[in-house]
């Protein structure tokens, strides 16, 4: 089966027209020497789309999908309004490519411009790019950008930054000589004392996260001020839904802002596709990686949009480019934009408040259980750390049997936190589900 329109007769005639008088397809490949032909090409025969759909539906059933999620860790089970799927299913959007020809791509370009604008409004920053692959790669790109801007080589990472992001940073820079210093959190928040000790004239940037991986929220304004005194930049990784309530990174003084955009209307989909957003100050735009869309006019003065500042990019600068990235996550960025447009100014605040209210209620319910300690050293948004009287992994395992994904076991990334779990609550969780979770946890621990 295939999606080739031309009939066998068409092909025969086309072969002749193409100068292949033998009429044999094989002759189109005569530049490939016989000895270089495949040693094997052992694939199953094609199947009908019905059969493939049925087969993959069967594989889907092997996943356990009816869990009530209290797992987050940077990736959250938020509600996705139906209009997002309907609009991004328009094939004028999803079957197009990078808008190299602006006049034939104004829809895509204007959407990216609006997306960039929404990211700026959300973070308070002046300039955003068209998106990067995900939150982790965005953070890596931000670190490289800070190194380019400052000409320095040392990066300080706050211990509250996601362990997944930290692993990615180390992976990407393993062939470069960059000094990384990690500073563990103190009572759940950034350790100012230790940070002060390590911050020096060699430091390109300090990387922070708000809320941090353990769920704690912080005001990093003092850290930003200290960094700027030493000529270092501040990179702040943020959770976009939380920005419905929380102080913006701009208000704290951050220089580069990144984050995982999944929570903005993008399905969890087993890890991707997602998007990473990035925003900065206008003065750093020329050091920013990735596609950027700008407004301009045509010769009649009509407003239109183009890819701009392309001299930063690989297709022009090749090995001197700011990054090797060629695409953005355009369709995911479109989803995020439509999400922000549907939820809107008031709605975002409400979603954020609902998340926090439900998380606080969950804290209260879990805290009533004997032996369960909800960490309270710092305020939180929708995620928090819970200490259990026994191994968290095993407790979580028991609750899976009750249809509840209770949280993420922190022992997975922190050897001394075997009894801790990270619990996330979104606006989708109901009071009933929260109570059921608390009851199931109590039963798992004590009966």
């Amino acid at each position: 089966m295939s999606y080739i329109p031309n009939s066998i007769e068409d092909r025969q005639e086309m072969l002749k027209a193409a100068g292949v008088n033998s009429g044999k397809m094989a002759d189109l490949f005569k530049n490939i020497p016989r000895r270089l032909q495949p040693r094997s090409f052992d694939l199953a025969p094609g199947r009908s789309e019905f059969e493939v759909e049925k087969y993959l539906r069967g594989l889907g059933k092997k996943n356990v999908t009816d869990l009530v999620y209290f797992i987050g860790g940077g990736f959250y089970d938020h509600y996705i309004p139906a209009a997002i799927d309907a609009l991004t299913s328009r094939s004028e959007f999803y079957t197009a490519y990078t808008p190299y020809q602006p006049e034939a791509s104004q829809g895509n370009l204007q959407a990216i411009y609006e997306y960039q604008s929404c990211i700026c409004r959300l973070t308070g920053m002046e300039a955003a790019n068209a998106s990067l692959y995900d939150g982790g790669t965005a953070l890596y790109e931000a670190a490289m950008m800070a190194i380019r801007i400052t000409g320095r080589n040392k990066i300080i990472i706050d211990g509250g930054v996601s362990p997944i992001y930290r692993k990615m940073l180390y992976c990407y820079t393993s062939n470069l000589s960059i000094d990384f210093i990690e500073i563990p959190v103190s009572h759940g928040q950034s350790d100012r004392v230790e940070l002060d000790k390590r911050l020096d004239e060699e430091t390109a940037a300090v990387i922070l996260q708000n809320p941090n991986f353990f769920g704690a929220i912080d005001d990093h304004a003092d850290i930003c001020a200290r960094c700027h005194n030493s000529g270092a930049l501040v990179i702040e990784s943020v959770y976009p839904i939380a920005l419905g309530l929380l102080k913006t990174p701009e208000a704290m003084g951050a220089d580069i802002v990144t984050g995982e955009g999944q929570s903005l209307g993008i399905p969890l989909s087993f890890g991707g596709p997602y998007l990473g957003f990035m925003a900065t100050k206008k003065k750093y735009v020329r050091k920013m990686p990735g596609r950027i869309v700008g407004a301009t006019t045509d010769k009649n003065g009509n407003r239109g949009f183009v890819l701009t500042l392309q001299t930063r990019e690989q297709h022009i600068r090749r090995e001197k480019a700011t990054s090797n990235i060629c695409s953005n996550q355009a369709l995911c960025a479109l989803r995020a934009l439509i999400y922000m447009a549907l939820v809107g100014k008031d709605g975002l605040k409400e979603v954020a408040s609902a998340c926090r209210d439900k998380a606080e209620y969950t804290k209260q319910k879990l805290g009533e259980i004997k032996g369960v300690e909800v960490k309270k050293s710092s305020p939180t948004f929708n995620e928090f750390t819970v200490k259990l009287p026994e191994n968290a992994n095993e407790v979580i395992g028991k609750l899976i049997g009750k249809g509840i994904a209770a949280g993420f076991p922190l022992g997975r990334y922190y050897a001394d936190m075997e009894n801790y779990m990270l619990v996330a609550v979104t606006e989708k969780r109901t009071r009933h589900e929260i109570v059921r979770f608390a009851d199931a946890l109590e039963a798992a621990l004590w009966s």
Binding site: M14, S40, G46, V64, F93, G107, Y274, G344, K345
Partner: protein, 480 residues
Amino acid sequence: MELIFELSRAGRRGVKMPTGDVPESASLDPVYTREKDAELPSLSEPEVVRHFTNLSKMNFGVDSHFYPLGSCTMKYNPKITERIAAFSSFASIHPLQPQLVNGGMLTQGALEVISDLENVLCEITGMDEFTTQPMAGAHGELTGIMLIAAHHREKGDRRKYILIPDSGHGTNPASAAIAGYEVKTIKSDDKGVMDMNEFRKEMNEDVAGVMLTCPNTLGIFNPRIKELADLAHASGALMYYDGANLNAIMGKARPGDLGFDIVHLNLHKTFATPHGGGGPGAGPVGVKKHLAEFLPTSRVVKRKDGTFTLDYDRPKSIGYISQFYGNFGVLLKAYAYILIEGKEGLIEVSENAVLNANYLMRRLKGHYDIPYGENCMHEFVISCCRQAKRGVHAVDIAKALIDKGIHPPTIYFPLNVKEAIMIEPTETESRETLDEFVRVMIELAELAEKDPVAFKEFPKTTSVGRLDEVKAARDMNISA
């Protein structure tokens, strides 16, 4: 068209979110909260839907237009794969779920998809192991270069250079550079392939690897590719295959048999997943056995009892290239496509992609200069040098095509052809579409002779005319 912010009216709402079945919590200390609300637009759902529907109409896509964008393989995207990727049994799974205790058992279906896809990609390319983690072609390149670095580091071998032909994609040198290598560019010879003498001259024990596209961006398959790979290997360098052009050779040649050690594929090109307006794509990377231990963490492993698990205990791995397992939704679409096509289908895909390109090239001959015009694989490059003498440049031809309802091919690439127009029709276009394209291209060549000034007005049929890119860069209006 108006911006969404210009349509915004205070008090309007596009969706009602679930709230309020728990007590309101105590307010946060204002030191932690934002002073002013984020100025997102306020609109009703009908207004949002109309705005984006209208925006979509200002876009060319494969479903609506012929889109022969060279090196991008803008083939038709089968609808069934969209339906499958939307199954909630895949789309709703949290990526940390398999990292819970015995968590692999909670996501057996998803892990099986990844494992099976890795296996079929190995067979298609002749590689031994694949990782699905890289999220785009350029991301795959970077992963590949890091694997090259890991290989040399393991041997205690410090090498400095990556060799790349002048016809290579811009991402190749950029990927090599950001991974810490210096790039040496090798010229093409008069046949359009990497100059063998130049290559010999630059190949030595400081070279870590060679990055090649084969067939290259001129649509030429280098028959001496194996010889080139042998030379590289003799100096201890590794061979990297940029899989952007795999659509030309499925079932006809495999990078693994040609001497390549590493390959990335663009699932959004060869395997028909939508380009999404610039992403998301997927750029899985395959390697020969000797590099498998360096592949990114985690790996999907099949246990003896037939179940699947994730292996994180990989001491020599380059580490976390991706947050999780790659762009899973895209992987699922590509896997469905491969299952539907099957062995014969994929061979037919490449044959017809190459046939369509040769048919077009032959029919355009005489009307445009074709610098490497003997025969081509899945794409070819014409030059508008002849038309440029009349003042009609590649960009002018491109803009004229827009008015004819055709998305322009890639222009001004590859860099080693002046006034280049790079055309890749793909196998999913009918003969009638190709004939219409030929008719239009000939008409434009004639117009270039008769009335070259006319081109400066194109395009006339789009929502905006030619846009002032200099002004865009100067004014830097990048957010509203």
